[in-house]
């Protein structure tokens, strides 16, 4: 009877157990400051994965950092001004980001490619100017932004204090895991396939009855919802938001994480944000070369783009191929055992 090949789902399940165990144990292996970095990294994983959902339709936005800011500002205001519980405020923040994206999609999604890119940048800058506008300082705090944002409430029954980065990391881990599962399911559903179709053959998709505007809008709104959620997680942890925090520099980082990681696979941007954050915040900082750090970071980016034009994600199939080749070579080199030898 031929041996039945294990299904990919089984491989995933087997791989997920040590991964989950590793993620749970991780904060206990790190120093205090590394735990802080881990919290921000986890939030950024959600941010960059939400960005990838939009790129599935072929559009690259320059407003994603600002949309994260909408989530952060809205959640902060809901908790501080309206007195809503923080968990509910976070959902309000995410919802507000999704709603603003819905409104923006009417003018922006009439454009495509480069024009969409520039349009999204302009829209983002308008929102940032509104946050800074002196007439609205009473609401958004002007250039200084909003301070003393209520933190996530402690769970006193279990003595869980969310000031502790390890505890906040677990909260983020739960939220981000659920979000990533949703994003993954969307991508692998019929909707996700339609996003891909719009990316590669939008005219063909239209010709078979796909409303490309609606699907692009859906991708924009869903990606904004999760970017807003990332912003809300950030706001209630750091306790402050200001317009500069969600400016061009942050947007450039999102683009770098996505490009260096690669956007062809679900894990590409995750690889990008994890590798580059560890490199920048842990490795380069440990070298005590503060003023040289941006230069080295830039050099590493150039090298990675030169030698890995398909992103870090392209390393994974290469490693898989190399391992398979090695296994094959070993199997050929190995002499057959006596039992396997044909009877004389």
């Amino acid at each position: 009877m031929p041996e039945r090949a294990a299904s990919p789902k089984l491989y995933w399940a087997i791989g997920a157990v040590p991964l989950a165990a590793g993620l749970i144990v991780l904060p206990h292996l790190l120093s205090f400051s590394q735990q802080e970095i881990l919290v921000l990294l986890t939030i950024n994983v959600l941010l960059v994965c939400s960005y990838r959902l939009l790129t599935l339709t072929g559009e690259w936005s320059l407003a994603h950092a600002v949309i994260m800011g909408i989530g952060a500002y809205s959640s902060a205001l809901a908790a501080k001004q309206l007195g809503l519980p923080v968990p509910l405020s976070m959902l309000v923040g995410a919802g507000a980001a999704g709603f603003i994206a819905f409104l923006l999609s009417f003018p922006l999604l009439r454009m495509k490619g480069f024009y969409f890119l520039i349009g999204s940048f302009a829209a983002g800058e308008i929102i940032r100017l509104i946050w800074k506008w002196s007439e609205l300082t009473w609401l958004f705090g002007g250039p200084k932004g909003i301070k003393l944002i209520p933190p996530f409430p402690d769970i006193e029954v279990f003595s869980i204090d969310f000031y502790d980065p390890a505890n906040y990391y677990y909260l983020c881990l739960i939220v981000v895991t659920i979000s990533l599962v949703i994003l993954y399911r969307i991508e692998h559903s019929r909707i996700g396939l339609t996003f891909h179709a719009i990316h590669w053959q939008d005219k063909l998709a239209q010709s078979v009855g796909v409303n490309t505007f609606r699907y692009r809008m859906l991708a924009f709104v869903v990606s904004a919802f999760f970017a807003g959620l990332a912003g809300a997680l950030y706001a209630h942890y750091v306790g402050t938001v200001n317009p500069n925090r969600f400016g061009v520099e942050e947007m450039v980082y999102i683009l770098i994480w996505a490009i260096v990681g690669g956007t062809a696979t679900f894990y590409g941007p995750i690889l990008g944000v994890v590798v580059l954050t560890v490199l920048n915040e842990v490795v380069l900082r440990a070298l005590n070369i503060d003023q040289m750090r941006p230069m080295l970071y830039g050099a590493i980016l150039i090298v990675s783009i030169l030698f890995l034009p398909q992103g870090l994600e392209s390393v994974v199939p290469k490693i898989k191929g190399w391992l398979a080749q090695r296994r094959q070579k070993r199997a050929i080199a190995k002499p057959p055992s006596e039992a396997e030898q044909p009877a004389k």
Binding site: S31, F32, S33, E36, S134, T137, V238, G239, R245
Partner: protein
């Protein structure tokens, strides 16, 4: 030939392994440089060391390294019965509140610092919960961070932007024929309170501000249209507010290129020799700002508390170059003078006890003279040390102190104006969200 011979004896892998092992062994076996007194007190330096605001972080750290070398060479600081060497531990917060929080946690919980100096501004609200939870004393150069809640935050050196009133007051006294001004500033947390201060100072001095202050986005790179807009109003005075060095330089160049012949005033003129190079000595003659070079003979006045300012400047120039001297080169060092004095008097490095010792009697030795702990009306808390501040003017390409003027004296006369303009720009502590 030699190379070929060497390669024949040692292959590349062996050579690399041997070199790496030798390096590691050298690192392990070399004795670490230690001081006679092994007790060390660590001080945190949490400021932007990279990015556009780095000019107000890195030169300060450089100044601290001189301060530490001098103090340690003198045997360290005496706290209780022991002498402590001082060691600075720096963390680049990149002017980002999230990174500043990470840095504060690292400095306090991993490096064991006893006091943290910050530039302040945007990063402070991210650090504030850490200060509260860990009961750590922080200092800021920007007192607009102060609120009634910031009990463990002090502004013991620079009371930005209030000292800017001294420059305008001196200008009005010495050049009474100048009657109109325009103000330009970047639209951020440093620019706005500074604009309110200049508006109050100009009004108090009887100088009319033409049009509304011009706020530009911090991402601006082309300053030609901004300067054209200002010059169109034909002002006697161009006020560059508290623009960062990256803005002061191009704005000044634009003023020069577009033929401005009037008076310029600015909070800072960091790296001004470069501005003189790019424009001319004649153009820069009379440029007023607030931060002296410390080789100025006026700093040897009896009321100045900063130790050996001229020697400090010479040492700074020797180590880092004259062009690297900036507004903050001496400021963090002067805060260390205050902290070490207070820790010595408290006999402990406990942050709350050091703060208590620092504020005893309601006065303190600020760099330029005896000063008082002040700020209740403007910041809601008396955690800013205010006294004399120098007015600096560029003469023949060199910055020179013209006069030390009293900030409290101006405040007593004109505080209503200041509060009016601060309120108009939503900058009072009770208006900041």
């Amino acid at each position: 030939m030699t190379t070929k011979f060497a390669l024949s004896l040692v292959n590349r892998r062996d050579f690399l392994l041997t070199t790496a092992a030798a390096t590691v062994m050298a690192g392990v076996s070399m004795p670490k440089i230690t001081f006679a007194a092994d007790k060390v007190v660590k001080i945190g330096f949490l400021a932007p060391l990279t990015g556009e605001v780095a000019a107000w972080g890195k030169p300060g750290l450089d100044g601290c390294s001189i301060w530490a070398d001098w103090v340690n060479a003198d045997g360290g600081i005496k706290i209780g019965d022991d002498a402590y060497k001082v060691e600075f531990v720096a963390y680049d917060d990149e002017y980002d509140p999230g990174k500043a929080r990470t840095g504060a946690v690292k400095l306090i919980k991993e490096d064991g610092v006893k006091f943290v100096m910050m530039l302040g501004g945007d990063p402070w609200p991210g650090v504030s919960p850490v200060s509260d939870k860990e009961k750590m004393l922080f200092s800021t150069l920007l007192p607009s961070d102060l609120t009634p809640e910031t009990k463990l935050l002090v502004a013991p050196c620079e009371v930005h932007p209030i000292y800017n009133v001294t420059g305008v007051e001196w200008l009005a006294e010495n050049k009474p024929d100048l009657k109109t001004a325009v103000i330009v500033a970047q639209d951020d947390s440093l620019g706005k309170p500074s604009v309110a201060t200049y508006l109050a100072a100009f009004e108090a001095a009887g100088i009319k501000v033409l049009g509304d202050p011009i706020f530009f986005d911090p991402a601006t790179t082309d300053f030609a249209p901004i300067m054209s807009k200002m010059l169109a109003l034909k002002p006697d005075i161009i006020c560059l507010d508290t623009c960062y060095a990256d803005y002061v330089h191009p704005l000044t160049e634009q003023a020069f290129q577009q033929g401005f012949k009037g008076q310029m005033i600015s909070c800072t003129a960091d790296f001004y020799p470069k501005m003189v190079e790019k424009t001319s000595k004649e153009f820069m003659e009379g440029f007023i700002f607030q931060f002296p070079d410390f080789d100025d003979p006026a700093l040897n006045a009896e009321h100045v508390n900063f130790r050996k300012p001229n020697d400090f400047f010479q040492e700074y120039v020797k180590r880092f170059g004259e062009g690297e001297w900036s507004a903050v080169s001496w400021e963090y060092a002067s805060i260390m003078d205050l902290w070490s004095d207070a820790a010595g008097r408290a006999g402990t490095t406990d942050p709350e006890k050091v703060l208590e010792a620092m504020q005893v009697g309601g006065t303190g030795k600020q760099a330029f003279g005896e000063a008082k702990w002040w700020g209740k009306e403007l910041f809601g808390i008396d955690n800013a040390l205010v006294g004399l501040w120098p007015v600096v003017v560029i003469e023949d390409g060199k910055a020179r102190i013209k006069e030390f003027k009293s900030i409290p004296a101006w405040w007593d006369k004109h505080k209503a104006l200041m509060i009016k303009h601060m309120e108009a720009l939503n900058q009072m502590y009770y208006q900041r969200s």
